[in-house]
């Protein structure tokens, strides 16, 4: 890693770390109902929303009621997003006269955006009207993120409450998340993004005359270029903050209008990390033991940082085949060097690799380069980070609750190893919690491996693969990992806008989201009903370096054991073959 890249990486990490405490404690105040500025000034708006929605603010919900409210709200979201896409031709704010989206693509997109995945089998600027982008997709960007955070807060309540059968009110958690956290942040980021040149307009596309005429694939002369515009900045802000990742443009944050400058790139990266990382601290505040929050952050970081370093390093080394062809891959003042295939020259390899690792560790899924063009091993890192269960920071809310499921498994094994029935934060981990945590550990793997197996066996599945050999296998594996992990980034190189992939990925996304969320709410309910066991000398401390390393090992070993065969047949063999060649 060159000095420049090193400084950029360290600077990014330090800024993220500095945000953790202030922003984490702000969110804790919001969720615990303590005054924190915005929730004092805007309290009348919050009350007004409850009044018109007939929400009884003080009324707690059992975990089942909470889960039903969450599911109904999300299913409604799917229906609305589907309907808007199908009807967009007749709806307003459609200056480019976009036709209705196809049924399977609409269904896929509807599930994708409500599950916080933002897998996009369409190209935004030539498929969606402004109305669809704003009222279908952006709205889901807010509420799907808020859903994840609400579930996390309900789970945290399970740890802090004693012998109660409620876990909070879903609607209240949603309103507070959107009103006090997501909306204010989005406004700030959107305004800054506009300053960097990201468009924010209802005007139709601009037309530019080319300085040099060119020919299209049919041999026709082209001398004009259409520059797609729209309400981009507002959508990009929430896309990054809420770990959504669905771009306004097909090229996502590699597009010059979606991510024009190195500063916008830095800010978007920051927005990706901000909430997932800070939530660890929020967790610590809420359970009244900040060390527990730092411990989870540390466990995530000791997986994240080596992955980050490794990915940058591999990309920096460049492609050995290009070396043989005499291509200059060295770093100079005029070029970033390394493997520049599929990357934007304004970002270079380091910022592309940081982005790739961040967007997959956090279940964000926006991209500023093509993961498909990474070297096999550096391409494996984003893939594997998704396969670890999106718990290394992970999506807003869902990453942390996924990690807590791993904590439950880890304290269970560790508890046995020290001869005590396991407990975490004073709550006994018993049969019911183990059942639910096991489901959380099992389901994502199922919805990655089985659809991948079906895809590589069937004609319709194989039809989408554009690269032969192990790389093609990696593409399919990545697609379903991204869907089940609710990441949404694409490896690329695969034509996913077919009925087969639209339906299969939608199923993976749906179960990857809700089959995790519901067991976690069940755990919240069960924990909430329990007593809090005071800790003694015999209690296993869960904030020590030992436990942090153990937790990270559990995550790594499970991820490695499940995906080793698949990875061996994809990126690993591709790397070995490349080295051998």
């Amino acid at each position: 890693m060159g000095l420049n890249d090193f400084i950029q990486t360290i600077f990014f990490l330090i800024v993220v770390l500095l945000m953790v405490k202030p922003f984490g404690s702000y969110m804790a105040c919001i969720y615990m109902g303590r005054p924190a500025g915005l929730n004092v000034w805007l309290v009348c708006v919050e009350k007004w929303i409850y009044r018109i929605c007939a929400v009884k603010e003080e009324e707690g919900m059992t975990w089942k009621t909470y889960a039903v409210a969450m599911i109904l709200f999300n299913i409604l979201g799917v229906l609305v997003v589907y309907a808007i896409q199908r009807l967009q031709a007749v709806l307003p704010l459609n200056p480019m006269a976009m036709p209705a989206v196809s049924p399977d693509s609409s269904f896929n997109t509807a599930v994708s955006f409500t599950t916080n995945t933002n897998w996009q089998s369409y190209g935004g600027e030539n498929t969606m009207s402004y109305f669809t982008q704003m009222l279908a997709l952006s709205v889901q960007n807010f509420v799907s993120a808020a859903t994840g955070m609400a579930i996390l807060v309900a789970l945290i309540r399970g740890f802090i409450q004693k012998q109660m059968n409620t876990i909070g009110n879903f609607w209240v958690d949603m309103v507070r998340t959107v009103l006090y956290i997501l909306l204010p942040l989005s406004i700030v980021f959107a305004v800054v993004f506009v300053s960097q040149g990201i468009p924010q307009t209802f005007n139709k596309s601009a037309v530019a005359t080319l300085l040099q005429a060119t020919k299209d694939s049919n041999g026709k002369l082209v001398n004009q270029q259409e520059l797609a515009l729209g309400p981009v900045a507002s959508q990009i802000a929430i896309k990054q903050i809420g770990s959504n990742g669905g771009g306004f443009y097909n090229a996502n944050s590699a597009h010059p209008y979606e991510n024009p400058t190195p500063l916008s790139n830095f800010l978007e990266l920051l927005a990706i990390m901000l909430i997932p990382v800070s939530l660890c601290y929020t967790f610590g505040c809420m359970v009244k033991d900040r060390r527990q929050g730092w411990a989870l952050l540390a466990a995530m970081s000791i997986i994240f940082l080596p992955c980050l370093w490794f990915c940058i390093q591999i990309e920096q080394q460049g492609n050995p085949l290009f070396d043989k062809l005499g291509v200059d891959q060295t770093t100079t003042a005029f070029q970033s060097g390394g493997n520049m295939e599929g990357k934007e020259s304004r970002f270079g390899t380091a910022n592309s690799a940081i982005w790739a690792v961040s967007t997959t560790a956090v279940a964000n899924g926006s991209v500023n380069c093509m993961h498909d063009s990474f070297m096999p091993l550096s391409g494996m890192i984003p893939l594997w980070l998704i396969q670890l269960g999106e718990v290394i920071f992970g999506g807003v809310g869902c990453g942390l609750y996924g990690m807590i499921a791993f904590v439950i498994v880890a304290v269970f094994i560790a508890g046995l190893m020290i001869g005590r029935t396991p407990e975490y934060l004073g709550k006994k981990i018993e049969v019911f919690e183990m059942k639910m945590a096991s489901l959380v550990a099992l389901i994502p793997h199922m919805f990655i491996l089985i659809p991948t197996a079906i895809a590589v066996l069937t004609v319709v599945g194989k039809a989408g693969i554009s690269n032969p050999g192990p790389h093609g296998f990696s593409e399919v594996l990545y697609a379903f990992s991204s869907a089940a992990g609710n990441n949404g980034s694409a490896f690329g190189g695969i034509n996913a806008n077919t009925v087969f992939y639209n339906v299969m990925t939608a199923v993976s996304m749906f179960f990857g989201r809700y089959w995790l969320a519901i067991p976690m709410l069940a755990i919240a309910g069960s924990l909430s009903a329990k007593k809090i066991v005071p800790s003694t000398q015999g209690t296993l401390p869960t904030h020590t370096p030992l436990f942090i390393v153990f937790l990270a090992m559990v995550v790594l070993v499970v991820g490695a054991l499940v995906f080793f065969p698949a990875l061996a047949l994809g990126p690993i063999v591709e790397h070995l073959m490349l080295r051998g060649a």
């Binding site: 498994v409 269970f412 094994i413 560790a414 508890g415 046995l416 190893m417 020290i418 001869g419 005590r420 029935t421 981990i429 018993e430 049969v431 183990m434 059942k435 096991s438 550990a441 099992l442 793997h445 199922m446 491996l449 089985i450 991948t452 197996a453 079906i454 590589v456 066996l457 194989k462 032969p468 192990p470 093609g472 296998f473 007593k531 809090i532 066991v533 005071p534 003694t536 000398q537 015999g538 209690t539 296993l540 401390p541 030992l546 436990f547 153990f550 070993v557 490695a560 054991l561 499940v562 080793f564 065969p565 698949a566 061996a568 047949l569 690993i572 063999v573 070995l576 073959m577 051998g580």
Partner: protein, 692 residues
């Protein structure tokens, strides 16, 4: 004293080993295997590969017949080895049950018409007795069933149950009224009311327990089973999807062959946690076995497991922390009275006092002041016994000399009534005694107070160290006593207890336990008296003394045959050991998978992608020897770990973090490294023997 049960049976005891071998083949019955999902998967895999072998013999096989046969055989061995572990654990229990069963002979019983001495009786078989019957047991008779003494005192030989050869006293009323069926009366006679029906007796419980017949899975065991099942399902998923991945890879690479079902089954069995899955039943049975060896009978495995979690331990002061009785250590006279006079009066008042305190006063007077014992009859003395109303005892020597001794308030009232005064200088002495943990006993003659006898509790030797050990385990100790808070505090400090409950009544004990439990604590308690029963029933882990009353034994969930209250420390250790063994072997089992992948994955795909040969870090000879070595290692490791599962991973009372670190290093890191070495060795042996 000889303990019959605590002798460790050797691992290679042929009387256990041989039947266990037979049993491990009988247990191949799918109905038995179905109870253990992990091993059931292995059974299905064995059947599948056996079928493939038959296919390879007759028609065109997917691989060489000898290779399939070798894999198939080792898969069968894997199940047999796991069965063998379970049979060994059961066999060791059965050997103990056998010795217990010998105690349960069909003895004749003298069934009485009514529960009074001299009532008529008829001789019937013990098996016909039911709850509520009353029997007479005379010298040399066996007690036919569990019961409670309603009349009589006798010495009883309980060695058949406890292994303790010294006879014990059993008497009606009080805390030594329970008798156990199968024990023998050595002297005198007892009238016993039967308290258990046939099949529900103590002995029956013990036999069922050691045989593992009524063993139910404990909550933790269930939770662990769930985790193991999930791992099994995940690895099933992993191996099943390898087949399509392989088909795709072969098609796209254009060379090699699709992975064989035999290799997939081998990989599956290697990946699923067969080590812990196979040894889990043995660990549970062996845990119970260790309890029996410690002479503790638990009514459920759940109680044993809960013992590992205890964080508060309530102990009765008397007999547990202190020697049973208080002893007189000093005579402190009031001003104007000589020590000799006080000692003389104290001795006179205690001559007929048969309580241990009374006897210790006589002994002290003799040892320190040379006052000989006198016969009460010669003095014409009349003994005034202690009553709860007067709270005094004493002696009347004729009409003009009345000596009384008793609690401070009682004597103060007594002398005031007689027109005397209570000397002020004595009050400071009394306070000093109380503060030091002693009990003051005031002596008065007529209306004059002579002085005070200092009675002191003697803390048992070595008890302080035991409590320090408990503290290191994270267990808080609380002393329960009827003493006043001052005395209690002094003794608690002397014995090194964390806290105490003074002036305890059954209600305050119960309340203390409930409060602790509401605060989330897991409470253990030992007790023997009937008044302990409510508290024992409330406690999470309740160890009743075998010498205690039937009510106490029924309220508890464990009975200590040695009647040693500090036995709870052993119980806690056994409980912890049980969990640690399970946890460590689970970690070991999963950690093993890493190296098995490095053996099998390159072997399975090297034909399709020769570059994957780079992952063969162990340099195993051939793809077939690699897969076979992994399977053989997986089977043999079960055999190697049988001793560990039977004897348990040792527990040391150190901080939780340190224990976790050490066990992770041994079973986690060890679990990753061991199979690399083991598989390589097996591969070398296979090559050397030209088996592959």
């Amino acid at each position: 004293m000889k303990k019959t049960h605590s002798s460790m049976t050797s691992l290679f005891e042929p009387t256990i080993l041989v039947p266990a071998m037979v049993e491990s083949f009988k247990k191949l019955d799918p109905r038995h295997q179905f109870k253990n999902p992990v091993m059931f998967v292995v059974l299905v895999g064995s059947l599948l590969t056996t079928g493939l072998y038959v296919q390879a013999l007759g028609w065109h096989g997917e691989a060489g017949a000898s290779f399939i046969l070798a894999i198939s055989l080792w898969l069968w061995f894997t199940i047999v080895f796991a069965n063998f572990a379970e049979s060994m654990a059961e066999g060791r229990g059965k050997a103990q049950a056998e010795s217990l069963r010998r105690a349960r002979k069909d003895t004749p019983a003298k069934k009485m018409s009514k529960p009074t001495q001299g009532a008529s009786f008829e001789t019937v078989s013990a098996t016909t007795l039911i709850k509520g019957d009353v029997v007479l047991v005379e010298r040399g008779d066996y007690i036919p069933m569990d019961g409670e003494v309603v009349e009589g005192v006798a010495s009883v030989d309980e060695s058949a149950i406890t292994g303790e050869s010294a006879p014990v006293i059993r008497e009606s009323g009080g805390d030594r009224s329970a008798v156990t069926g199968g024990t023998r009366v050595l002297s005198d006679w007892l009238i016993v009311r039967i308290t258990a029906n046939q099949g529900e007796t103590f002995l029956d419980h013990m036999i069922a327990m050691v045989e593992g017949a009524r063993r139910q899975k404990t909550p933790n065991e269930i939770a662990l089973s769930i985790l193991l099942v999930v791992f099994t399902i995940i690895f099933l998923l992993v191996t099943v999807t390898i087949l399509p991945f392989s088909i795709f890879s072969v098609a796209t690479a254009g060379k090699g062959a699709v992975i064989t079902v035999t290799a997939l089954v081998a990989l599956l069995v290697c990946l699923i946690p067969t080590t812990i899955g196979g040894l889990l039943p043995a660990i549970g049975i062996a845990g119970m076995d260790r309890m029996i060896q410690a002479n503790v009978i638990a009514t459920s495995g759940r109680a044993v497991e809960a013992a590992g979690d205890v964080d508060v331990l309530l102990l009765d002061k008397t007999g547990t922390i202190t020697l049973g009785n208080r002893q007189a250590v000093a005579f402190i006279p009031t001003q104007g009275v000589t020590t000799e006079r006080l000692a003389d009066a104290a001795q006179l008042s205690s001559l007929s006092d048969e309580t241990p305190e009374g006897r210790s006063i006589v002994i002290l007077a003799k040892e320190k002041y040379g006052i000989r014992e006198r016969q009460t009859q010669e003095l014409g003395a009349r003994f005034i016994p202690f009553t709860a109303q007067t709270r005094m005892s004493g002696v009347d020597l004729g009409a003009n000399r009345q000596i009384r001794k008793g609690a401070v308030e009682a004597i103060e009232g007594y002398v005031r009534k007689a027109g005397g005064i209570f000397p002020d200088d004595l009050k400071s002495s009394i306070e000093t005694i109380s503060k030091s943990g002693g009990t003051p006993l005031v002596v008065a003659e007529d209306k004059n107070v002579l002085g005070v006898i200092q009675l002191k509790d003697i803390v048992k030797g070595g008890i302080k160290e035991r409590f320090a050990e408990l503290r290191r385990m994270g267990i808080k100790t609380i002393m329960i006593t009827g003493d006043n808070p001052l005395t209690a505090a002094a003794i608690a400090v002397e014995a090194g207890m964390d806290d105490f409950l003074a002036q305890a009544t059954p209600e305050t004990k119960l309340k203390l336990i409930r409060d602790m439990q509401t605060g989330g604590r897991l409470v253990a308690m030992t007790g023997d008296g009937t008044n302990d029963a409510p508290a024992l029933a409330q406690a999470d882990v309740a160890l009743a003394m075998n010498t205690g009353t039937q009510a106490a034994k029924e309220a508890g969930n464990m009975v200590d045959l040695d009647s040693n209250p500090t036995k709870l420390i052993e119980v806690v250790k056994i409980g912890k050991q049980l969990l640690i063994t399970r946890g460590s072997l689970t970690t070991f089992s999963i950690a093993n998978d890493v190296s098995k992948y490095f053996a099998i994955i390159p072997a399975a795909f090297v034909g399709t992608y020769p570059a994957l040969g780079a992952l063969n870090v162990m340099h195993l000879a051939t793809p077939q020897s690699a897969i076979l070595s992994a399977v053989i290692f997986n089977a043999l490791i079960i055999i190697f770990l049988i001793p560990l599962s039977l004897f348990g991973v040792p527990y040391r009372p150190v901080a939780a973090s340190r224990l976790l670190r050490d066990n992770l290093l041994i079973y986690g890191a060890g679990g990753i490294i061991t199979p690399f070495v083991g598989i390589k060795l097996i591969d070398m042996i296979l090559v050397a023997l030209h088996l592959v």
